[in-house]
């Protein structure tokens, strides 16, 4: 394994991505059911396809001949890797979502429109777009009330059994493709996805001027939530982590306080440190971007009475928490899941430079079999590689 990896790394270092010409396939393309992997003479639509645990293959995924009503075909240009992509690769599942068949991975993406389906009015060929990866069914209660992130039948890229977007081409509803302003790169378009997670957390929490905010976890989500919290006008923001790697970046990105937790500190001690870091009373809002029992215990203890704890991170499912304490302090515990109606705002935030996501992109790769291997490996060993956002640049 180590030898193969080294060989792949060498190839990547030496070569550039070979261009693949795409020819529209005559075969159908059913979700979750890919044709048998063959080595065609001409690749129609190279994609990174997850077959099972540790089994990520670079193979052809033919596209349908005709586009569906109100869909567009997009040539992908930038796709980021998320922790969930890595998790599916390493574990084959997240909670009840299990990879049972080949699935194209990846969901943070942007590209250029190459073809319009019937009745598309909001886009034209050549438009550069950020792609919102979750398409809800509009008929259930959550969607009708504007919380379509909670749609039980939502089709979300790279959540089994739905294919993701780490491919040369995808088809997607035009209504979920957002044009990029001239001063935005495709990479920034792809970053609208994780930024949306941060924005949604800030909305759930009610981040606004006058509120002190603590963010637990300085990984990619914690850092992007920091950027969102600043955009939402938070008074003072403290970011905390057990590792110092990303805390200096948090500092650069505008955290007022970057708190390194001591190795054997208790949750009570960390809570006290957060309260001291955010005078006069401590954090009004705590956004837990790690999601462990210890971090949630810290959050409940640190939070000002009447405040809010928003859980974004997905570390552990079951936790022991000081609920009597939360209750007596009237602290609200709020879940935050993905996002809804955030893309337009995120693009505006980046376009106006209120948010600069570029420092979060630490590693870049082209799109080939070897580079996919190296990229995912890089992302999965973030503590060694220092990876925050690994980005594919394609076509």
């Amino acid at each position: 394994m180590a030898l193969n990896y080294m060989r792949a790394l060498q190839k990547v270092a030496k070569s550039r991505l070979a261009t693949c010409s795409a020819v529209t396939s005559s075969r159908g393309y059913a979700t979750g059911a890919l044709p048998e992997a063959v080595e065609p003479a001409v690749w129609r639509n190279p994609a990174a396809v997850l077959h099972g645990v540790n089994d990520l293959r670079f193979e052809d995924v033919p596209m349908p001949d005709r586009l569906q009503d109100e869909y567009v075909r997009i040539e992908m240009k930038a796709v980021g890797i998320c922790g969930s992509d890595v998790h599916y690769w390493k574990k084959g599942r997240i909670a009840d979502f299990v990879v049972t068949g080949p699935m194209v991975i990846g969901h943070e993406s942007a590209g250029t429109v190459v073809e319009l389906g019937p009745n598309v009015t909001n886009l034209k060929v050549g438009d550069r777009v950020a792609v919102e990866p979750g398409v809800p069914c509009w008929h259930n209660k959550a969607s009708r009330e504007g919380r379509y992130n909670l749609c039980p039948d939502i089709r979300f890229f790279a959540t089994p059994p739905h294919h993701g977007s780490l491919a040369q081409y995808i088809d997607h509803p035009a209504a979920f493709c957002f044009p990029l302003a001239p001063n935005l790169t495709h990479e920034e378009g792809a970053m609208a996805e994780p930024l949306s997670v941060g924005v949604h957390a800030c909305r759930r929490a009610g981040v606004s001027p006058g509120k002190n905010v603590a963010i637990i976890g300085a990984g990619p989500i914690g850092l992007i939530t920091l950027l969102a919290a600043k955009a939402y006008g938070a008074d003072t923001i403290a970011v905390t982590d057990v590792k110092e790697d990303n805390l200096s970046l948090a500092d650069t990105l505008g955290a007022n306080v970057a708190l390194l937790q001591q190795p054997h500190a208790t949750t009570a001690q960390v809570a006290e440190a957060l309260r001291t870091a955010l005078p006069p009373f401590g954090p009004d809002i705590i956004i837990d971007c790690a999601g462990f029992e210890s971090t949630m215990q810290t959050a409940v203890q640190a939070c000002v009475p009447g405040g809010k704890v928003v859980l974004v991170g997905m570390g552990q499912n079951e936790m022991k928490l000081p609920m009597a304490s939360a209750s007596c302090k009237e602290v609200d515990l709020l879940g935050s899941f993905r996002y809804a109606n955030t893309y337009a705002l995120c693009l505006k935030l980046m376009e106006s430079r209120k948010v600069d996501v570029m420092p979060l992109i630490t590693h870049r790769f082209g799109f080939s079999s070897d580079e996919v291997t190296v990229a995912f490996d890089t992302a999965s060993r973030a503590s060694e590689t220092g990876a925050i956002k690994v980005m594919f640049n394609m076509n």
Binding site: E70, W138, H139, R144, E145, Y148, A174, A175, N341
Partner: protein, 394 residues
Amino acid sequence: MQRLGRAFRTASRYSTAAPAESTAWHNPAAVLHRANDLRFEHHDLPEEIPRGYVRVGIRALGICASDLHYLHQGRIGKAIVDRPMVIGHETAGQVVALGPEVTGLEVGNRVALEPQVPCWHNIYPRAGRYNLDPGMKYFATPPVHGALARFVDHPAYQSFKLPDNLSFEEGAMVEPLSNGMQACRRGEVKPGKSIAILGAGPMGLNALACARAHGASRIVITDIRDDNLPLAERLGAWKALHTPMMSPAEAAQQLTSLLPPYGPDTVIDCVGHESTTQTAIEAVAPGGIVVQVGMGKDRANFPVLDVVFKELDFRGCFRYTNTYPICLELVSEGKIDVSSMITHRFGFSAEEIAAGFRCAADRLTATGISSGCLWKLSLINSNKALKSRASTLL
């Protein structure tokens, strides 16, 4: 003019059998060609029922002031009847056929139809406020056809099953009731708040019923006529006040003295006359909410300083969102009695439709205000032989 009354109602009330077979989709309808030109004629149905749609045999339909307005003026604001349009939007019926990919409904299901079909790609529907969708398709708002027809095709997801103990009439009444529900949500009606409702016409009465359902108990309703005030009391008003010839200041004074110390927390204006808007703003307590439901003149004189000094929320209220399930439940549980608001009934024929609209119009003229009419229903009995030739009704 033939009033069919209770006997007819009882006979058809709880039928769950599918309507009798007739010639393939022969579809007589009340079609408005232009102002004062309403015709009873065939209206084409699509060859194939669209994907996700059901075909519904209409069994009950209520007339609304907006239907009358289109009939007499041929327009409401910028919505102009410039081509033939089926009228009517408050309706319930029975599913007679399913389009492709319909789940959750079967032929024979009794359903209330929510008369609006938003475009879910637009910003407002995505944010949960689909009533504000500029791309909305609403029954009998031109150019979209309404439902006073034998059959209507409608999305399955906007066709809500009637509980077993609800009649088709009650199902149709869920539409105006939904307006009352939306008004109460916009007005944040809840236990402990005092509420004033201006206007005891259909809109006011529905708002009243919904305010009770929202837990409010101190509800005062006012009207310049006293006809509907006894009904208002039966529907749960704490006080039903006759306020003829009162200036806004006088009316506001009455409301404040009835709801001390500072007046009503929420005022719902279901009239929309300049004087009632003024009354609402003058009467409402500081920090309170005025909900404007009634539609009057486009431009009105407005005590703006009151809005500033009292930090009022002056909130428009337009149609409704996500109200059908809760309204059906409230009626089914007996918490709201919509049947009491039904005053006249007509059948489905050229003559009876004409009579129904005339009756509604008479009531309108009598009140002299644009939103006062008693309820009328057209009952469509599919067993009746229906004339197919076009005939001008008015």
